[in-house]
Symmetry: C3
Subunit: 489 residues, 3 copies
Amino acid sequence: MGRQLTCFLSVLAGFFLPGVVFGLDLPKDLGKETAECVRCHREHTPGVVADWAKSRHAWTRPEAAYEKSPSTRRLSAEKPPEAFKGKVVGCFECHGQNPDSHTDTFDHLGYRVHVVVTPKDCETCHPVEAGEFARSRKAFGYENLAKNPLNSRLADTLAGTPAWAGGRLVTGTATEEAKAQACGGCHGAPVTVTGTGRTRTAMGEVEFAQLANWPNQGVGRLNPDGSRGACSACHSRHAFAIEDARHPETCARCHRGGHSPADEAYQTSAHGALYRAREPEFDWGNVPWVLGQDFTVPTCAACHASQIVNERGAPLARRTHDYGARLWVRLAGAPYSHPSPARGETHNLRNAEGQPWPTGLDGTPVAQGLLAAGEQEDRKDALLTLCAACHGGPLPWGQFEALERVNRETDAGVRAATDGVREGWKRGAATPENLFDEPLERLWVEVWFLDAAALRYAAAMGGAPGSGLGRGLRALEKELGTPAPAAAR
Amino acid sequence: MGRQLTCFLSVLAGFFLPGVVFGLDLPKDLGKETAECVRCHREHTPGVVADWAKSRHAWTRPEAAYEKSPSTRRLSAEKPPEAFKGKVVGCFECHGQNPDSHTDTFDHLGYRVHVVVTPKDCETCHPVEAGEFARSRKAFGYENLAKNPLNSRLADTLAGTPAWAGGRLVTGTATEEAKAQACGGCHGAPVTVTGTGRTRTAMGEVEFAQLANWPNQGVGRLNPDGSRGACSACHSRHAFAIEDARHPETCARCHRGGHSPADEAYQTSAHGALYRAREPEFDWGNVPWVLGQDFTVPTCAACHASQIVNERGAPLARRTHDYGARLWVRLAGAPYSHPSPARGETHNLRNAEGQPWPTGLDGTPVAQGLLAAGEQEDRKDALLTLCAACHGGPLPWGQFEALERVNRETDAGVRAATDGVREGWKRGAATPENLFDEPLERLWVEVWFLDAAALRYAAAMGGAPGSGLGRGLRALEKELGTPAPAAAR
Amino acid sequence: MGRQLTCFLSVLAGFFLPGVVFGLDLPKDLGKETAECVRCHREHTPGVVADWAKSRHAWTRPEAAYEKSPSTRRLSAEKPPEAFKGKVVGCFECHGQNPDSHTDTFDHLGYRVHVVVTPKDCETCHPVEAGEFARSRKAFGYENLAKNPLNSRLADTLAGTPAWAGGRLVTGTATEEAKAQACGGCHGAPVTVTGTGRTRTAMGEVEFAQLANWPNQGVGRLNPDGSRGACSACHSRHAFAIEDARHPETCARCHRGGHSPADEAYQTSAHGALYRAREPEFDWGNVPWVLGQDFTVPTCAACHASQIVNERGAPLARRTHDYGARLWVRLAGAPYSHPSPARGETHNLRNAEGQPWPTGLDGTPVAQGLLAAGEQEDRKDALLTLCAACHGGPLPWGQFEALERVNRETDAGVRAATDGVREGWKRGAATPENLFDEPLERLWVEVWFLDAAALRYAAAMGGAPGSGLGRGLRALEKELGTPAPAAAR
């Protein structure tokens, strides 16, 4: 191939390029397969190798981590995995693991490797984290959408591109590909093997497992080995750095705008502004994360996930990879605020009307599957320990109460919008078959899915409140038209 | 209490947590009360203590500042306050000041302390800054809203959640709590004492003064000692760092989106882009701030507040804590652009129609209370000195003229929108009783409150112009409906 | 002048200001004219001098660059320009170049200088870059708008402020000044000489060439020397730093929101999030830019412009100042996605209906002037080399296919919207004379100009998809009203 020749020549040219200092430090303790991976991939995917070569994985033999105390150790397996003894964690340690359970395993120049490294692979060294994640709502990001007929209908309606037929627009069901693109970037999509085949690469055509919905790093991805989730959603390949995951921009990829406007709230909060002013002074990688020493204002990770201690090492929060574990109330994703779901799976909740939602259309929480009042209080107390580290006395309670008040007020606003839609159904201005598609209903969706969520997130984090519910409610009223005379109601 | 035992045990655990380097440097010159505060709070609010322990307050005895020249000194009192002699500024120096004027003073384990530290407390060392602030529009952020019946009506209409009654939505007056949340985060809210009571904390129940509308750091907050404002709106607790206040994200908390889209204009300006590219090289803390040495592109503070000198120390701008003091024209907060108000209080302005606004509904400025033409020119000349440090010759004038042109054009657009609303009142499509609530009027509010403000800010700072007025005006025209026949007009 | 005295006194004061360390390092090899410029301007425009004094221009004699290898050299002239021999590049080297071709040349205290430094001036040392830029779409940013009657009509409609006449709004043609402000900040505007005159400066009144539309740094600016473009759009004055241009915020000034929402896509992509987490570790100035060593995630420049090599110096991408040169498909600026234009000038394209657009209203690409299929594949292969450096195997192809799918789907959506508008023309709900002004047409503009662009950019970069086309299409359907009975269609 001409391309291969070009490649070879440019490599050669590279060796002699004067005036540039090159060089990549590589660890010595490479597994023999990984050493061979690196020898080729250093040329062919240099960015991957360089990213990994700067990582902790590249420079740490898992057994070395066990010389550290449990709270500072970054592995949670009870003992170092036998298979990795004497080696750092390199290409083959991950891409060559559990080959039989991976339907995407293929023969790559004599090695059985798979493309999609999954939480099941990471679990070998990080079982506590993988387990917490597996039980969290994040792991069900795709299924809580796809297996919930109501949420799925909403996704179809929002992601489907209407077509013109008979003088009016007709919304069909959105294609799986459209949803994988529009929803799947965050929620995840099923990555499945479609066969093997040759792919054009910079070094000619090479045989690979061929995958549908790839690339996808959505947090609730369904993997070719049957597992759920993508650790790489937050711990980006191939550095897998805690530093990356602790930055709020990592979370903001999915929690910005639309129905999860957490980043807008954070950025307009004191926490968000101070993060920007002070981030260069932070130690982003220390474990545990020492409040007041490593960082002085919280990022998303500090409040929702990280192991935090004070300057003497006393624990303020234990690490969790269930990102909802410190929360007692859920602010978005359903019309009304409601107690946090007790489990990661929510598509099996049923409200009084039999709908798969955590509350009824009137806001009444489901009887089963949400946290009980006592459990909510326990979580509030746990978060209080963290808040109170920087905000003494009644302040955190004032903040919690402000959130509750805003939840009550936005819930009342959503109830008003819902009453408007019900009135529209009565008058024939819309039909309740699909709750989301007609103009009146689309305005209702905006009120709870977007505007109420923005208000609640802002109240939770002390950020700017967005534009409020008034605008959407007024538009809904207008869409509903002149009220029927009093007698008719 | 079980909680206290847990706390004690975790402290103990902390001392022995191996593998983590802990330790907080503490100053020696602590006042005796502060020393006692720190001894406990180091455990119970470690974030507060750590944040403060890194601050200038913690390491500077006020009298030491008087060894520096006035222009590099960070205190403006004529001489060091006697009461602080020999001590750095710690917990009790602020929270124990002026106990009798604070209605939130309470007994805390034998000490009389108050929760809400106010500009009156900061004034002891920073009287010039406190005085400038007290006369600025910022200090009246709450009152210019609450005591202005027109602005107050607007806030009620925007922040109130309509309810459904008799087949239509009814907007009531927004609750004080809703406004404290929606408007008060920036404008401030009245923080009042509701009594004393015990609050659950990480160390058990403790007695505190109990406050309404707390937490609140809005810039025009009404304080329990009768003073106005919150220095902590920009100088965040407990570092109170000039570095924080000079970062544009601090300002952007309130001046982003909605009716004050300054951050959007800044970010899309050359200044904003270069700030992001160069910020790691800046010296964020030097006083005075040396243009070209400490920083090479302005943040909000550079143009609006900071003391700026050139590389030889020649003054380019004197420090001001009246953030409008370098501006001659006001771009937002009222339908039309208008000369800057002469005083911080604006709720007592009256236009020709008797409304408490700086211009009439036709755009005519009020006769009293705004800067005269000569005063406007003086401010333009003062700002010119700063602009001209980086932009020679006619360039700043071109920029000023572009702003004036956009002000004229947006004022014309607002006049067109206002004419549309007047026409609607004539036709009975809306009633002028509440200027803001009906659909036609809400569109008018969008035109001036949001879209015109975005265009003017963009012109002032050389940023992207937003979506323009056309969209809102067209919507307003549509809402108004088919024009009455020519004869009827 | 009193002002001059003040200035003198403040300079004097500066010399004696105690407690501040001042001082600006200045290079020795200044041209004699530049030395004289600096002597005065150090006082009068200190920010300009300081910014330049930290730059490579200030410390590099062009001939010294020729001791470096071509790939690390930052000049592209075959040999060092004779005129600059022995001198660094200072004020007069740029502002004194080509005086006769600059209509803005004027006498400044005995020196013939011009205000607006243009790509023709920069070309002396950087001819390859200037040439690539001159042939790119960026250089035609103004003309592709102003000389294209359709785009120009769109700009008039969007930027014009409607006036109220005869009971309805009338959109006139936007003034040139309004367009220079609203569109020209990014697209550029014609900067023309209106005469010479005295301008008030911090040092009194001084004679200058007087310019219309100044300041303007829009990328397609028409210059007083007849050239096109502004290098300073990305390489900001007076540092002209590659570091600035490589930061994504520089690009985001124009490519954020509205019809070019690239920054939104980037920020919600893995690339954008990791950039924010890792930027402090990057070497922003190295040439060539070493992937994996200098940077580990791409900014805009990395994918679209920079010379990139791997750690051994092997080229991954050659530098280009035609920012579209690595792209095969154009996503925005016209209703449908289409093959990249073959040249920078696009206002002379004609679709089958004779309209100056790259596709017909049904989406069919023009026969002449766009890349042929083979040329598109070549560009895809070239970009693949870069993508594949970090993303091996089928991943880049999966990404390319996802983009193609979204292009097809959004094109179908735009076709549906266009059918709706055509239907409206048939029914008399709007007239096709101006394609953009009536309510129905404005909604159509939103669908393709804003919403479809957001979806396509997101798909291209792996970012969040925005709000989709459904909302706009529904609004358009509603605006169109009840469909005519089937028989009438």
